[in-house]
Subunit: 397 residues, 2 copies
């Protein structure tokens, strides 16, 4: 594991830790102007790409964007110096609830509350340590996209290009509700024990439930119908993870339930429950407009280029939220393209459709909003005026 | 409480109880041809309307359709003899897990698994006892709508008109997933104790979580945004239902979370956790086409009239599912109108929009699909041929 100690770090909440550790991965060679910061999603890790190694982050957290990041890929590590850091509060090597506090015990819930803004500041300090003064681009999906947007807000002159994938300026009420349910599943599990469960397994059942709620958010209604339908998981499917009542035996154990049970349990093995509480709160509380009058005001100082990538089947972060983001950039000094991908894969599309995500991302990193594979919801008038704001978008119809 | 003992009852699962009790309410006078059976939704009760009395079912289960059922209302009890029965497996007086078994102890999970088909057969036997040979209409919403459809399937000659509100022929994968999560929340709560928690409070936390998942299903994304947005519940809002970690204090307690917590806890006070397991399984497993080649085959023998009422903001049972139902009736001997209500209230619309539900329901009960306030997705050609199947529906565009 590659990690750096950044010394004392004060969080937005006002509390500090004496020595913040940030675990990170780097790919490619830094040439002075080719740095690309990739921001991971809620339960992702710094291991954005590359071979899985023993002792690495497990499951979906490992090499989570290997189809996108690597030699000759959309984020080409022959060309770019790519850095990805595990966010503070997480559990893959950066300081967070399960990491060791100065007293030698796990921080647990003594760890300060974290925000997306804290992540941005920690990343900035990590890049200082790595000798990277400015970023060619920052790229992130889901809450990682919020993190990328936060860069344009906090360091408008420190980043040339921002790619916000499957994200929005803030969560809506429906997603806030599901996140609250997920956290309640954890905190009402007696094995959570007020967060003081180390070195035990902790609230395995509550964390699995939380993840199951997440999985429903990450898929679309129609993709679930296609993927699972009402099919039974088969006679020999074992429901052995927890006790059931005899009446359950009269009904089929369906593929969708089997999928949720399997993934819920695998997730509980790889992730820390307190980290899940901390990171979902950071996502929930993120508001791009925070400290400003509007999203546009928050991004007004950003005069680089932005690519907003959204997916038609995504209800966690909708195409409408993507368009609102693009509108906010349009009002300011920056240039933006809102590239909408027709997809049935729900929120997961940004992870599972590299063929849709790769080309616009690749071309945007090279040529900005003028990139060949980059489309926009706003059609430009063919008047010779390159930036005529014609706004005949698919949203103004 | 009004209840009848129906004697031995064999359930679809093959198990029997020696004496099935059905709790029911009746409104109006039976005149021989004016009986209307109302089927309640998942956690509803027989108390469809009327004054709330001490000792009655609590909360949302009491007088749950009082705006629709009563003297001079859409289901006019001056005109119709209305019967509503608590379904077997529930907890409002009919036999179910919390009721007393022959050994004097609560049935608990020894109670046989129940299906929607069992509900229909129990209702038929109740009506026999009440001296009602045929129904003018059966009306139900949500899983109660499945129950109403099941009447058209099991007793095509025993009911003239069927009103299926906010329902479908079967649940889709997304809803099956959320139901499975809800049940897992109950069964992984240690207080569930294998279902053997009587006379204790049982898995209060798990049942509250299950209900919270339900509430998200019952609302629409946009109605949640309007109702709650990201607003804080206020400085003095108490989060006292369960322990939290200190970091939670840095973030607002939002209205949407307060709503979920309040309703989750009230529900856990009024409903039985085992009943929740049993009734959600009955809903999940219901498939109108079960035993037939298709939904249309299942309804082929029904030559009465059907009203399918669906709501544009409902994602629990979608307008598309309503249309598929209507298509199934159209293929058979019955006549059908699919009345689509423009609504932002999600699945709850059928409960909270009496102004939308009442008029078509009222006119359909009186005049069938020709009722003045009844609309259909299929436009009739103005050819003088009353039943030309022109199928220029909003779905064939």
């Amino acid at each position: 594991m590659t990690e750096l100690s950044l010394g004392e770090f004060e969080f937005d909440c006002g509390e500090s830790v004496p020595d913040l550790t940030v675990a990170y991965e780097e790919y490619g060679e830094f040439t002075g102007d080719n740095a690309v910061l990739v921001c991971h999603a809620l339960t992702g890790s710094q291991h954005v790409a590359g071979r899985r190694r023993r002792g690495d982050t497990a499951g979906q957290a490992a090499a989570w964007w290997d189809d996108i990041v690597g030699p000759g890929k959309a984020i080409d590590t022959n060309e770019y110096y790519v850095v990805c850091a595990n966010v503070p509060g997480s559990c893959y090597g950066s300081s967070g609830p399960p990491s060791e506090a100065p007293d030698g015990e796990p921080w647990g819930t003594r760890f300060p509350a974290v925000t997306v803004g804290d992540w941005t500041r920690a990343q900035r300090r990590l890049l200082d340590e790595l000798g990277v003064p400015n970023l060619h681009a920052v790229v992130g999906g889901s809450v990682g996209g919020m993190n990328a947007l936060d860069w344009a807000k906090q360091h408008p002159d420190g980043v040339e290009r921002v790619v916000a994938v499957a994200t929005g300026a803030r969560l809506d009420a429906q997603c806030l509700a599901l996140e609250a349910i997920a956290r309640r599943a954890i905190t009402t599990d007696p094995d959570w024990d007020g967060g003081d469960y180390y070195p035990g397994d902790g609230p395995v059942q509550g964390l699995a439930l939380a993840r199951q709620v997440g999985h429903v958010m990450y898929l679309s209604k129609s993709s679930m119908e296609k993927k699972f339908g009402r099919r039974s998981a088969g006679m020999d499917a074992a429901r052995d993870a927890f006790e059931l009542d005899p009446a359950a035996g009269f009904f089929p154990y369906r593929e969708v339930e089997s999928y949720l049970d399997y993934n819920g349990e695998r997730f509980a093995e790889r992730f820390d429950a307190n980290s899940y509480l901390y990171l979902t709160r950071a996502m929930d509380s993120y508001d791009l407009a925070g400290g400003y009058d509007s999203d546009a005001d928050a991004l007004a100082a950003f005069d680089g280029e932005a690519l907003v990538l959204s997916f038609t089947g995504d209800w966690h972060f909708t195409v409408e939220q993507g368009e609102a983001l693009a509108e906010a950039v349009r009002e300011g000094a920056g240039r933006v393209a809102h590239h909408v991908v027709e997809s049935d894969h729900g929120h997961d599309a940004f992870l599972v459709e590299p063929e849709s995500v790769g080309p616009p991302l690749d071309d945007f990193l090279a040529d900005g909003v003028r990139g060949r594979a980059v489309s926009d919801t706003v059609e430009e008038a063919d008047t010779g005026d390159d930036f005529a704001p014609v706004h005949t978008s698919l949203f103004s119809r």
